[in-house]
Structure formats: C-alpha cells, structure tokens
Amino acid sequence: MKNKLLLFSLLSAGIFGLFSCEQKVTYQLPQYDPKPAVFCLLQPDSVVKLYLTESRSYFNYGDTLNKMRFIFDAVLTVKDETGVTETLHLEKGLENDNNFNRNPWDTTKRPDNKVETWLWVGSNKTKANTKYSLEIKWGGKSYTAETRVPDVPVILNTIIRKTEGRGFGGGGQNDSIKTAFFVVQDVAAEKNFYGRLEIDSNSNQSGGSSGYFDNIYRYSFTEDGAENGRKMEVYASEDQKRGGFPTDSTVVFVSLMNANKEAGDYLTSLQHQQNTQGDPFSEPVLIKSNIKGGLGVFGGMSYSKKYRIVFK
C-alpha cells in the first residue's frame, strides 16, 4: 500500500503542484449518539473482566487527550447457559501502558507508566465450552451480546521446517529459514482464529495468565476456514538467529491463542483499521462488533501452555 501511494504521489505530484488547492469547507456532518464500547474476552477458569467506555462524536468534541471515558453508571449482568446470573461490580486497576504501546522488536527497558483503569469484574469463574450472555443497561437503553468460551487449543505437536528460497527462486546462501509451526487439531463446527503469543524467555508466564494486554494485536490470526475440524498448521516462530532480528537467540517461548468468532472478527478488523487509517485511497474498515446497539467485543479466548522451541 505504501508503494502504491508513493507511486501515485510521484505521478500526480506535477499536476497537484500546478493546479490543486485545498479549501476548508463546511459539510453538514452526521449527528452521533454516544454508544457503550465493550472490551471483554472471556477465558476459561477466569472471572469476567470487562472494560466499558463511552464513544463520542468524531466531529464535535473538545477532549483531545484521547483518554478512555469509562462508564460508571451502568448495570451489567452476565448469565451463563444454565441460567446462573451475576451482576458485575466496578474495580479500580492499574495497567502498564508501556507494556502495550511499543513495537514487538523494541526490547529497550523503560520505566513503568501505570494507567488508571476501571474494570467491571465478576465473581464466578467462566467455563470452557459454555455460552454466556451479557446485558448492559445504560442511559435508558439495553445492550446485549452473546459468546461461547473456547476450549484451550489442542496442539498435537510442533514441527520445524527449513524453507528454501523464501519466495525467490534460485535460493542463495542466506536465503533459507527455519520456521516452527504448531500442529493443531481444530474444533469442528466452530469458527476459530489461532494466533501465536511470544513470551519473554525470562518470564514465568505459562500462557493464559497474562491478562488482557498480551500484545495480541501484533500478530495476525490464522482462520480455520476451509480447515474447519481438521488438523492444521499454525505459524509459531522463525529462527531468530537469522538476520533482521535484534536477538541471536535460537530458543523462543510461545503459546497459542485460540480466539472464537466474536473475538477473532473484532481483533482482525481492529488491526485492519489500524493499518489503513490515514490512507485516503483505501476503503475504510468497519470494526466488527457483536454488541447489539453498541460497539466492541464480548468474545472468548483461550491459551495453550507455554512451548519452548529450539532451533538447532
């Protein structure tokens, strides 16, 4: 996309330079009623944790700090498929902003920058393969959503392949790479999105316990698609000793994420929107949501155990 834009820019530069002009014009911009924006990914054997913020008009706001506008005056209930209902309560929390606001290759140490957050939290632990529904009562309106907590992904084994050429025929001395894959037994009749989660080798983290901010947005998901219910290979890692990576480690720690349809659709479209924002020639990306009348996601995600992959 960048190349395309560059090309167009170069070709049109002369014409734009000679003739184009900008004009501040007044358009009758659409009216907008704020909506609740939900962020909640249920995990097996964890309590419900939900962020609830308020969206605002894109065209008429005075707040330029882009801070989260938490909603405090709502009533949230979560009900499982057996009818057990609980009302969520508000808890104040601190999250490490530094942890999720930098690129994946950036390993420099920085001081923690804690951000105050407000979470709606439940008391009951959710179960895998169980359906949950959410109801939010706010501003005189009701917003609902449903999801099913996915099971921990079944990894049959991990394999390492050496890829010659990597797309360029002829293959040079430095043009091969070792790539590791998870061999996953996909769950039939269920939409799954698999993504790898790289874990710091010094961390004791063992997958699934790392909270919400696991940098999952950094990685693309593999949809089961045509492989639904079959064995499939999901990219796990590449040999980092190869050029282009900051570390020369031949050992990586990864776990596999399994997002259900609601979570996968939301996270994928969110990432697409981030990639295309600011490109005037690209079609805008609408973020998919399963919140009826609102925004965001009420989905499910699970993590495998931590795998140690050694490239020899």
Partner: protein
C-alpha cells in the same frame, strides 16, 4: 447449448420459407468520396417501404428486395444523403460514395440524419454512436480531445473523479467496461493516472457506446462496450493532420500506397513535460514523465471480394527519476496488433477473420548502486475470431461467429539483481482459455414490429475450472408512428476477468485476474424499456429509457485488503451482489446552427456483501442520483464556431467516521473509529462549464484552426477528495475535526493550433 441449437434451427427454417419468393439483392460498400474511408453504420433505407439496413463495421451492406423499381436513400451523419432510383431485375453490386456535409449558411434543409430515423425504426437500444467530428468540436482540458471524456457526457455514463477519463456505466464498476480498439481489448485506456485516455482523436474513425441491449457478438463485460475503429487511411491522396498543444503535440499522416487499392495511416502523440522541466532540475538529478501513443494501419484490397487490414497500437507512460547512484523508473502501456481479412462469399454473406495480439505491461525498476529490483505485472491475449454477416432476406440480418482467446495473466513478477552474478526471480502466471459462439438476428416482422434476437454461449477454462452458459439477448421494437417507437430489451452478460484495484482512481498498479473456482464469473442481467420520439421533422431526437440491472458474484476487496504485489490477491476478495436502476432522458439536436445534446440520468446503485457493512445493503461507490450533461456547438459562420459543455453530478459517495472510542488493548495510542453506513456520506455536487472558440482559416493548402478552450470557466472548486483534520477553533480554543476539501483543476485556458493538409 440446446437452446442455442434450437434457436439456430428456428431461424434457418423461417429463412428457408422466405427464400421461396423471387427477390434480388443489392449489396456493396458505402465510403467517403474524398478519402475512401468506409462509413460504418450508414443507413440504406428503401422509400415507401418501412425497411432498410445499415453498413457493418467494414462499410458493407446488403439488402434483398422484390424485383421492381425502388428508391433507395443512403445517409450518414455528417454527409449529404443520396437518393437513388434503381430497377432491380437481378442481383446488383452498388458501391456508394457519400460527400461530407460542408457548412451552408442556409442551414434549413440539411438532411443529416433525416429520413433514416434509425433511432425509431431499428431494434437497437442503449447504443449511441458518436461522430468523431463532434468529439473534436467540443472543448477539452489542455486542448486534448478525449473521446472517453465525451462519452462521460452521455446519459447513463458517470465520470470518475475530477479530470479523470474513467467512467462508470449504469451503476457498474470501472472494470465492467470493455474497450475495443479495432477489436483488440485495451486493458488500461488511460494515461497519467486516468487524466487522459489513450485514444488519439486524429486516428479514430468511429466510436460506439453500448450500455444495454448488447448485440450477441459482444461479451465479457457486464456494463458497457466501447467499440472504437481506427481510420483506414486515405486511398486517394496524401493528407496530414496535427496539432500543437500545451502539454502535447500530435501528427497523423495518411495516403494511398496504391491508389484505390491500398492505403496507410500513421499517427503519433507525445507529451513534453519531461523536456520542459529539464532546465529547471538541479544538477545531478534527472526526472521526467511523458506518455506517447502510436497508431498505424494499412489495408490492401485484393479484389471486390477480399480485403485485408493490419492495424497496430502502441502506447506507454514513462516516469523516471535518478540521482547519485539511485534510480526509479515506472512504465506501463498497451500494445496491440490486429490482422483482419474481409471476404465476400456472395452478395449475402460477408465474413471477417481476425487475429489479435495484445499486451498490457506495468513495470517498475528501482536501482540502488548495483542492486536492482524489477517488478512487473500484466496480461497478454492471443485471439482468433470469425464473424459472419448474412443478409438472407430484407427482413433478416443475421450475424454469427466464434471467438477464442488464450490469455496469459501475470499478476506478479519480481526480479532481484544483487550483482552481476547473483539474481533471484519470482513469477506467477495464469493461463486461461475463453471462447464463445454467437448468433444474432435482426428481424423485421412487419411495418411496426422489429426484433433483435441473440444468443451467446461463452466457455471459460482455467486449470480444472470450466464454466459455460448461454446468454440470451433480445430487443423488441414497436413503431407507434413514423416519429415514435417503444422498445424493450433484455441482456445477460458474464465477466471472466476482474480488475484488482483498491482505489477510486486509475493506477497503473491495478492488475487483472481471471475467474476461477474461487472467483466465480460475474453475471449481470439487464432489462430496459424505452420510448423514442423525433420532433420537428427529425431535427430533434429524444428518448427516455428505464433500466434495471441485477448483478451477482460481484467482487470487492476485504476491508483492509493488501493487494499490492500480493501473489494471492484472490484471498483478499469478498463476494456479493448488486442492483441498479434508473431513468435516462436524452434530447439531441442534429441539425441547424446549434447542434448538441442534453442528457439527464436519475439512478440508484446498491451492493450487498455479507462481509462488508455488517452484511447490510449499501449504496455503491458509483451511486450517483442525478447527472446532467449539456454539450452544444454553435456555428456562427464557416470560420467561427463556439462550443460549450456543462456537467452536473450528485456528490461522490464516501464512508466517514462518525464516532470514536479508545480501545484498552492499545492503551492511549489508538482511537478506534466508528464509521457510519458504507458510502452513506455524499460530497458536494460536481458541476463545471467549459467553453471553446474555434476559428478556421486556410493558408495556402493548409486548413488550420485556432482553438481557445477554457476548462472550468467559472472556477468551480469541485471536490477531488476530502480529509478530516483537527483544527483549533480560534474563538473557543477547542480542537474540532474539520473537513478539508482538495480540489484539482481551477479555470484553465488552453490555446491549441490544429492543422490539416
């Protein structure tokens, strides 16, 4: 296929019955008396009988009449009609030459299109022929006469963005238009990101736009056919034509190779922006952009029965820049070679055999010291086709034929040269076979009713994927009286090649991909109803057409699709359907001091894609509610004329963010945007007026005309695109997003000198 065979049998049986009557055939060619150019679409009408025929794409006609005396009127737009009295006692070969209509001060009485009433009498709808002289009369930006921009002035045709030659027909996408130059497909008919078309007006003989009621010989696109014929070349004497303009110059030469037997035409155009900017560039830096077009054609007449044509087109855009040890070059273009053989089996059966090679290539070469990377994409066609015109009876005009195309798609090709010894290359090829059989009968039932029945049977093969179907077409014409008729048309079309583009503008990086078991052929069905009426003794032609078009297997790109140099672009597609409907009003004045037309279109175009807009139906990008165009030429006298163009169109559709919210997982760094319904926001309407003044003079044997064209005469700042920018309100100090509109062309006067010798 069964339907196809049955239809053929029915036609043959009905024709057999008709042969029993004693009749004779008049046949021949209609050409320009001065240069020998065959006149495509000349009307041959028989007085006192509400019947007639038209010349085909090679100027040939044939009409079978009862043994008797007949008055035959031969007419063609822009030429003096001829009325001939003939006694038909046997088959007759009658080659007719028409004289171009010259300006007369007493305008009343010019019978340019009179009596033929083709728009009323023939079962044709959604087809508009544009005389090339009319294209040359109208004002143009930078003085570049552009036939695609003139097409945008017709009802049902919507222009692309500001200044662009791109167009959309009846709610269809830009890749749904088939553009043929002497039967060769031109895949990228644009120069400079769509601001100019590749067609040099000096080399063009005729242009037809077909937007509905598709004859069966055409297929492969859903929305329109633009059929362009190059000039054959003057077979009587040598002539030249050219012009010097603001950004380009052009020259066309034509003449006989062997008088009345063989002729040539060669034409070239080149821009010179690259030469003009050279002196202003810093030392050590070179940069430039130019495009050129070369058209050539030769023909040889072996006998009255056999004639061959060889035509060729070569056009390219080149952009390059270099400094120090770095260089960057992009070039793209079309080339085509067409060989045709006309053979007359007898006075009733005419054939044309065509071989076509055409090639479109986009290439980008970057060099950094010794490292060079070259990226390419393109498409190459090899086509063989045979077309027959059979005139078995005055009531039947049958066209049938077969076509086969072997296509080679190169969606992506990369070559990396590290040094003189080390290189890597990577290419993707796709090979496709497309063929079709067709038959079409224009059938006159009686004085009031005529019909056009057609059937096309396309076959498409890509690897193990095979697709075939039948495409029925028909147009029914009921003549209410000599001045008015009602027509009803239906057509089904399939499309097997698809343009991959993520932009609203035409870019050379756009690539074509074939259908497959994943990317199914696109299908359209269109039904149209029209009322046609002429007024004031045919001085005015008017029409109202209502249409509805349904399309399936349409392709769009996934939200957030990555298509540039993506070897698996098919994975970035999503599939859906669409429908469009509308009404087109057209008023055309053919004669008098003022000639021209007014078109108005009221239209709707929608799309439904399960993966877009949350599955809800949304207005298409090409949804334009109102579209008005006015084109007029006023001739003061023989030397001086004034022309004008006015266009108005509802604003382009856009998807805007209406809300935003912070996503916790991205911390405070990312605001997610909440968009409204796709394409629900409209930019301000587009309108513009151009004017042109032409003064013609003769200097010795050279006819020259001096043109002053003014584009966008009242300096309307039309929206090219808008972007939203946060701006601080000086009174409140609050930062608010503001829409900033970018406009492209202000008032642009252009002076051009054209000459003809």
């Amino acid at each position: 296929m069964k339907k196809f065979i049955t239809l053929c049998c029915l036609i043959l049986c009905s024709l057999n019955c008709l042969f029993a009557q004693k009749k004779h055939t008049i046949s021949g060619y209609v050409s320009d008396i001065k240069n020998g150019e065959m006149l495509i679409g000349s009307i041959i009408s028989v007085a006192k009988q509400n019947t007639g025929t038209a010349t085909n794409a090679y100027g040939f006609y044939s009409i079978t009449l009862a043994e008797d005396s007949h008055y035959v009127l031969i007419s063609f737009v822009g030429y003096k009609p001829q009325l001939k009295k003939i006694f038909l006692g046997a088959d007759l070969r009658l080659n007719i030459t028409l004289e171009p209509q010259v300006y007369e001060t007493k305008v009343v009485g010019i019978t340019v299109n009179k009596k033929a009433r083709e728009n009323i009498n023939r079962p044709k709808m959604g087809i508009i022929d544009i005389p090339v002289y009319q294209i040359k009369e109208l004002p143009a930006i930078f003085g570049e006469k552009d036939l695609l921009k003139v097409l945008q002035l017709l009802p049902g045709v919507q222009s692309g963005s500001e200044g662009s030659a791109g167009f959309y027909v009846r709610g269809g996408g830009p890749d749904q238009n088939l553009i043929l130059l002497d039967e060769a497909i031109i895949y990228n008919p644009f120069h400079l990101a769509g601001f100019f078309s590749t067609f040099n007006g000096d080399a063009i003989k005729s242009v037809s736009l077909i937007k509905g009621g598709f004859p069966a010989q055409y297929g492969g696109r859903l929305s329109s056919i633009i059929d362009i014929s190059m000039k054959d070349g003057n077979d009587k004497e040598y002539h030249g034509e050219g012009g010097v303009g603001l950004i380009s110059s052009r020259l066309m030469l034509e003449g006989p190779i062997q008088k009345d037997k063989s002729s040539f035409m060669i034409s070239g155009r080149r821009t010179y922006l690259d030469i003009l900017i050279k002196p202003f560039l810093p030392k050590g830096i070179s940069a430039g952009y130019y495009f050129y077009d070369l058209n050539g054609k030769v023909n040889y007449k072996f006998s009255d029965k056999d004639k061959i044509y060889l035509s060729s087109y070569l056009g390219s855009d080149v952009f390059s820049t270099s400094f120090s040890k770095t260089s960057f070059k992009v070039d793209w273009g079309n080339k085509s070679i067409v060989g045709r053989w006309n053979h007359l089996f007898n006075s009733k059966l005419f054939s044309n055999t065509t071989l076509i090679y055409n090639d479109y290539v986009f290439s980008n070469t970057d060099q950094l010291d010794k490292i060079q990377i070259k990226l390419q994409s393109g498409i190459r066609d090899y086509t063989a086709k045979m077309d027959f015109d059979w005139f078995p009876h005055i009531k039947h005009k049958v066209k049938f034929g077969a076509t086969y195309t072997y296509q080679q798609f190169i969606p992506s090709s990369t070559k990396l040269q590290l040094d003189s010894n080390t290189s890597f290359s990577y290419q993707i090829f796709r090979y496709v076979h497309t063929s079709a059989l067709y038959i079409n009968d224009e059938f006159t039932l009686n004085e009031n009713i005529s019909m056009n029945f057609g059937l096309r049977a396309p076959l498409f093969i890509y690897k193990k994927y095979t697709f075939y179907n039948a495409e029925p077409r028909f147009t029914f014409n009921y003549i209410i009286n000599k001045n008015s008729s009602v027509k009803l048309g239906y057509a089904m079309m399939h499309q097997f090649t698809h343009l991959v583009s993520n932009s609203s503008i035409s870019l050379p990086t756009d690539i074509w991909v074939p259908s497959s078991d994943v990317v199914l052929p696109q299908v359209a069905q269109q039904v149209a109803l029209g009322y046609f009426r002429n007024f004031n003794n045919d001085a005015y032609e008017t029409s109202v057409e209502v249409y509805y078009k349904n399309m399936t297997h349409l392709i769009e790109y996934k939200e957030g699709a990555q298509i540039f140099l993506n070897p698996d672009v098919e994975k970035e597609f999503v599939y859906g359907s669409g429908y469009c409907y509308g009404t087109e009003f057209f008023v055309k004045r053919n004669e008098g001091k003022i000639t021209g037309w007014i078109g108005y279109t009221l239209a709707w175009a929608y799309r439904t894609f399960p993966d877009l807009n949350n599955g809800k139906t949304f207005p298409s990008k090409y949804d334009q509610r109102h579209n008005v165009s006015v084109a007029g030429v006023y001739k003061f006298n023989k030397e001086l004329s004034f022309s004008t163009v006015f266009v108005f169109g509802s604003g382009q559709s856009l998807t805007l963010p209406v809300g935003q919210y912070q996503v916790p997982m991205f911390g405070s760094g990312f605001s997610a945007l909440d968009y409204n319904e796709r394409n629900s926001f409209k930019l301000y309407p587009y309108h513009r007026m151009d004017i042109g003044i032409k003064y013609t003079l003769k200097i010795k044997s050279v006819d020259a005309d001096l043109r002053l064209d003014v584009y966008n005469v009242y300096n309307r700042r039309n929206p090219y695109f808008i972007y939203l920018q946060n701006m601080v309100d000086p009174r409140s100090g609050i930062e608010k997003p503001t829409a900033v509109q970018v406009s492209l062309f202000p008032t642009i006067p252009t002076f051009t000198v054209n000459f003809k010798f």
